[in-house]
Symmetry: none
Subunit: 194 residues, 4 copies
């Protein structure tokens, strides 16, 4: 199996994990001062105290580096609790999603994604879809429990909810505060609850 090979040792000097994390840290640091288009591999390498080739060796492009760095910090967040009450669970996830997206890293990633189909696919597969599946399940359980109208189109309904979050972060350039999230969720629920 391939998975077994993943941990196999290779000939030659093994990669330097300290360099890897220095590069990711530098990427995050520099994104506070530079927009993605002005973030250069050369600057990252310098900031990380690393040769350019080391970055190209492991990520191949600025875009891949960005995605990995994002997932590395974001993957533990934006997770549905599955046991909290439906509304609370959604609320917490939206708050976390807002925080993760409305960061230098998040904004840069979205920028990159809009210009790069491959990156978009990677992002969907590794970040977006898993969370969408969970939200979907949650709504289905709400329907089973008789809390939510049975005739809603789950996909459309979720796109509206999360689309709203994205719009606020990216189109109005503002993160949502807790109060706004309450307003949004209330409007949202009003339309779908029994």
């Amino acid at each position: 199996m391939n998975n077994l090979n993943t941990n196999m040792t290779h000939a030659g000097r093994p990669r330097d994990e300290a360099a890897k994390s220095a590069i990711m840290t530098a990427t995050m640091t520099l994104l506070k001062d530079f927009k993605f288009a002005n973030l250069t591999i050369e600057r990252i390498a310098k900031e990380a105290g690393v040769g350019k080739a080391t970055i190209y060796r492991w990520w191949g492009s600025k875009e891949n580096l960005l995605l990995e760095t994002f997932l590395d910090t974001a993957d533990d967040h934006v997770v549905f609790n599955q046991e909290a009450p439906l509304l609370d669970d959604f609320k917490q996830v939206i708050v976390e999603l807002t925080v993760v997206l409305d960061s230098a890293l998040g904004r840069a990633l979205i920028t990159a994604i809009l210009e790069d189909r491959d990156l978009l696919d990677q992002f969907h597969q590794r970040f977006f879809e898993p969370r969408r599946q969970q939200a979907s399940q949650l709504l289905r359980r709400g329907i089973d429990d008789g809390l939510i109208k049975a005739d809603i189109n789950i996909d459309v309904v979720l796109d509206m909810l999360f689309g709203d979050v994205y719009m606020n972060v990216f189109f109005y350039g503002k993160a949502l505060d807790t109060a706004s999230i309450d307003v949004i969720l209330t409007s949202f629920m009003k339309g779908i609850m029994i």
Copy 2:
């Protein structure tokens, strides 16, 4: 006033309108082959048969050129009819919005906007807000006419609707077809109609 000067004649040779439109045309043409980050002033100048300085003289930056080119082609579209039935009017606007955004020009503009606060403000002021105002008025009239629930939060509700459009275009990378728009609008209306 500045506006008065706009039509004033100056000493020296006047601006060459042919060059202006050649530049905009070249911009649109090249965006079919290059993403915004790879679209260079030098390439545009060459494609348009124009000196680089001419572009810098009139637009100052790639971003401004992009916005002007977008508005030049998009400004006549995405306009509410105001006389058609509410649902039809929304539907037509969403179709046009989808078409305009899901183009090389539209996608490039959004990309640029996400990285450029000034450009975002310009885009809001000159494209987004006027249309949002119209949609807002439309909903208010619907409320007055007793078609739509009086207790909705108009801003939130519009963000959900348009946010959904944006999500589909940018996050799923697909333009909405007519059938999908019907589904979205139906879901949307179900939540807000009396």
Copy 3:
């Protein structure tokens, strides 16, 4: 004719002669500290206060730059007087040749020539052959004047003379002083004079 076009003005900004001479000066300066293999375009550009592209624009390679710089400073020297007595004329040319070759510029050029057939051809055509022709004429005149044996092979004889100069400069790493040149010329003449 092509020659006429050479002086024709072109569209666009003309090349900056100050940059040209700054680059050549920098090349000569840096060759005092670096051997040719360690002389980098980047260092020359920095020393000359010039962009790398300017160097590549006009010379295309380090080798070409070197040759032009050499010819620029060496072309006025190593010229036969044609009126001085035969021996004096040869002597003066050998002194000048020694000086020109035993310089940072000269040594670097020879190094480059040994690795680069095209450069060798250029060097022959633009520096070596004209001088060889003159030396050849001089010997022929010496034969006509009854000063030099008529049965010598001029080519072989000249190669021996100049080969000796080259050997001393490059193989023994020492420039010839006036006394040595006297010794060489005496030996040389002894073999060919009547």
Copy 4:
């Protein structure tokens, strides 16, 4: 004494002679396709199927590797017979010298020598001087035997002869054929023989 240690056994794995000769072979092979400046340690290592460190361990630099490789193949050649007639002995040595120098290895070595004083010294000590001493002895014996003029300056005379060989190989880029060598030697002898 140090010399005694040369054959002493050490702890640890002994040097791999197969690797040594693979490296030298690779050096010679690659010099057919690459000039010395473009011959890289990395390429040699790959061609020889060897780690880079092995090369640095034993030679320390590209220049040293080159010299050792040259001596390894050239040291048996260019040797005066000492018993053949004077002219034949010189002739044979010049032929062999020409062959050895006009090879990828020989040309590369001269290139390297011109840029590297240490290498020049090594080359003189280990290749050039021994042969020059022999040529010198030969001429002295010729003088003793009354074959050669007693008043020649042996050093100058030899530099002229060998300088000519070098000039032809390096400056005209052509090896000498047997006929040319005859011409040269005839001219040479005419000047020095009684």
